[in-house]
Amino acid sequence: MSAGGPTRPVESPRMPSHDVLVIGAGLAGQRAALAAASAGATVGIVSKVHPVRSHSVAAAGGINAALNPEDSWESHAFDTVKGSDYLGDQDAIEIMCREAPDEILYLEHIGVTFHRNETGHLGTRAFGGASQARTYYVADITGQAILHVLYEQLMKHHERLERYEEWFTTDLLRDEHGHCSGAICRNLRDGRLQVFDAKSVILASGGAGQAFKPTTNGLIVTGDGIAQAYRIGAKLMDMEMVQYHPTTLAENGFLITEGARGEGAWLLNAAGERFMEKYAPNKLDLASRDVVSRAEQTEINEGRGFPDGTVALDITKVPRKRTLEALREIVNIGRDFAGVDITREPIHIRPGMHYIMGGVKTDSFGQTNIPGLYAAGEVACVSVHGGNRLGANSLLDTLIFGRRSGEHAAARAKTMPMPTTPASKLADVEANIAAIISRPAGGRRIAAIKEELGTTMNRYCAVFRDAEGLAKAHEIVRRLKQEAPLAAIDDRGSVFNQDVIAAIELGYMLDVAEAILVGAQERKESRGAQFRTDFPKRNDDEWLKHIDIVVNGGDVPQVEYSPVTITRWQPEERTY
């Protein structure tokens, strides 16, 4: 037993004040921190888990870039615009696609082991919605491979880059001018609260998949950053756009990478028909994710799926050797979680909640409407994904806009003094947490409220939606918002008190869920991931615009509109 092991200080003895504070240490946060440190800023990076456990680690398939001489960034950008169902902002998409090849070279340079083909050159795989095979990958552990190498680089910069691992952010701070001036965080190991002063704050805390059940997202993905920013007045955008991934495991919602179809796997209905021939005669199984998920759900709803509400993914179409080399994780997942050897038999899958295109509204430098507050990665909405994100564009989004945020935040920090936060702010948060811990027993369990939220969202706000269901879901979420502050807390301790964290996270998820539902009710058309059975057509005349969601005290949030930026691609009918 290791009880006699060495003791070490858990965190830095230095007072936490930094030019740039990054919240979240997945790909976006680590890339932002590295860019800011490389630009000369002092950086703090806070994460509620150890950085390499961040959910980016689960990203499987790869990262898109037009790096081959026969490819072009314009082609990548057009595919992204079309994938977004013309809701993506084309100026931001152009930036992302133009800068993508250089980012791949950067990653390669710091030691990411991208797949090499038999001649020793970088190899690519095909991905959905793309007109070229432009996805660079590391087997099916691309996220893990990049995350670990970025973490090595964070360590290399440890002299000006302080890591706060297993610190949970509870609140963002605004100073008297309305600028974001830092955050208050709780050290999970001993329950201590601490103010982190910062000239600029970059939110990079990921999405909100846990507001849905099932989801492909890990248990830590609870919408923290989206809700924190929203609560201090940051605008949210495109929140109604929730991606259902076409291939999640029937048993438990785990992700089967799109790389499987990229390598040649087929989707089949219960009759063994390759049904995508009907829905996307050109791209077939590699149409955009919203298109494929809708096709699957249509097959299932119309009785052509299996009795357990699934269709089949047949990976035996891929040569076995190639599967074992390029899809090794899903071979394991099939074996361990479904009891199936995917190289020999088809596997049952269904669409499952995977990603939110929406988030904190930013410009192409990651700036939100609150001065000093930046956002990058899934927490943000630039918007490069619009109504539907292409596979392998999310890693790219995290890295490009993480870097751009880090650089911009570092430059901004050079121009200003270090803010100092009055002690009263800390006292307020301390009182909030003490109130949570001392709640009387008797309320509903946090897990039960979370379960009701997740199943409600998945029932009414999934692949197909309508006004009636959305209104019903909204009513339930409003009720849950009243129940949540009364939920029972059992752990009254301070060391790794997961109950307190769960109570706070539940509040975040409810705020995000409401924003999603308000956006989905507002958008009375079908575009990208939002398919309204009561408004089944895309309506560019009225709805080629973003829906922004703004906090309104404890009431139902306000809705605003903002224009979509169109540079060179006018909306066209979208077929695959």
Binding site: M1, G5, R8, R53, V57, A58, H109, R189
Partner: protein, 258 residues
């Protein structure tokens, strides 16, 4: 299925720990081990006791968070799996199952089944990165990497840093972890600058953290959820020897960040 669990409970690092015994009944064979603990925790909470603290996140075997020693095996029964990939059907009905934290001198317990694995980070921080700025980024296809080298590098880079190798080793050695990190970069052109200083700095840090040395038990390889081969320790030893003999570091010590 029914089980008797013996679980290590420890309030915090400085307090003494003990095994507590819990009976769990009506467990589905297809329940995962962590789901079984979740259910037990729900019961403990309802009974007014404190739930068992354990690390977990993705529950699909990729994040490296979960870390329990089950019946003496880090990550429990089954080859090439993490704790979250263990199912109750892998145990005999009625069995007594012992659950402990990853035990190692360099992994102090934080609470119950959670341990502090930051010593592994400090090994990495001592030099486990591409450290030399070699001017502008080269066009990657200017330096072809053979598929064999790329494959070897990926087989090492797949390390999720869970620390099972340390917990499995009778010597509490971190050589499979360190070897994997060294091997990943040693197979790539961009890992060549600083290669021999890197291995010496990492080994020095590994020793100073109180990890033991490898004496070829092979337990690490058997416990590794990513099936990393013990060959990486051979690579570590070869590079370390090459470093000490032919590439000694300058007297000012380690590689400095650029």
């Amino acid at each position: 299925m029914n089980f008797t669990l013996r679980v290590w409970r420890q309030e915090e690092h400085d307090t003494p720990g003990r095994f507590e015994t819990y009976e769990v009944a009506d467990v589905e064979p297809d329940e995962s081990f962590l789901e079984m603990i979740d259910a037990l925790n729900d019961r403990l909470i309802i009974d007014g006791s404190s739930p068992i603290a354990f690390d977990h996140d993705c529950r699909e075997g990729i994040c490296g968070a979960c870390s329990m020693t089950i019946d003496g095996r880090p990550h429990g029964p089954g080859d090439g799996t993490t704790t979250c990939q263990v199912y109750m059907r892998q145990f005999d009905d009625g069995a007594t199952v012992t659950v402990e934290p990853f035990g190692a001198f360099a992994f102090p317990v934080i609470k119950d089944l959670m341990v502090d694995r930051s010593a592994l980070d400090r090994i990495q921080q001592a030099g486990g990165y591409t450290g030399v700025n070699a001017g502008p980024k080269p066009e990657p296809n200017a330096n072809p990497v053979s598929p064999e080298d790329a494959e070897e590098a990926i087989d090492a880079a797949i390390c999720i840093g869970c620390g099972a190798c340390v917990a499995a080793c009778p010597n509490g050695a971190a050589m499979l972890f360190t070897g994997a990190k060294v091997t990943h970069l040693a197979h790539l052109p961009q890992g060549q600058p600083g290669r021999f200083a890197r291995v010496q700095d990492m080994v020095d840090q590994m020793d100073s953290e109180g990890f033991g040395g490898c004496t070829n038990f092979g337990e690490c390889e058997a416990a590794c959820p990513k099936d990393i081969s013990i060959r990486v320790i051979g690579r570590l030893n070869r590079d370390y020897l090459m470093g000490v003999l032919y590439h000694p570091r300058n007297p000012r010590g380690g590689m400095k960040p650029q």
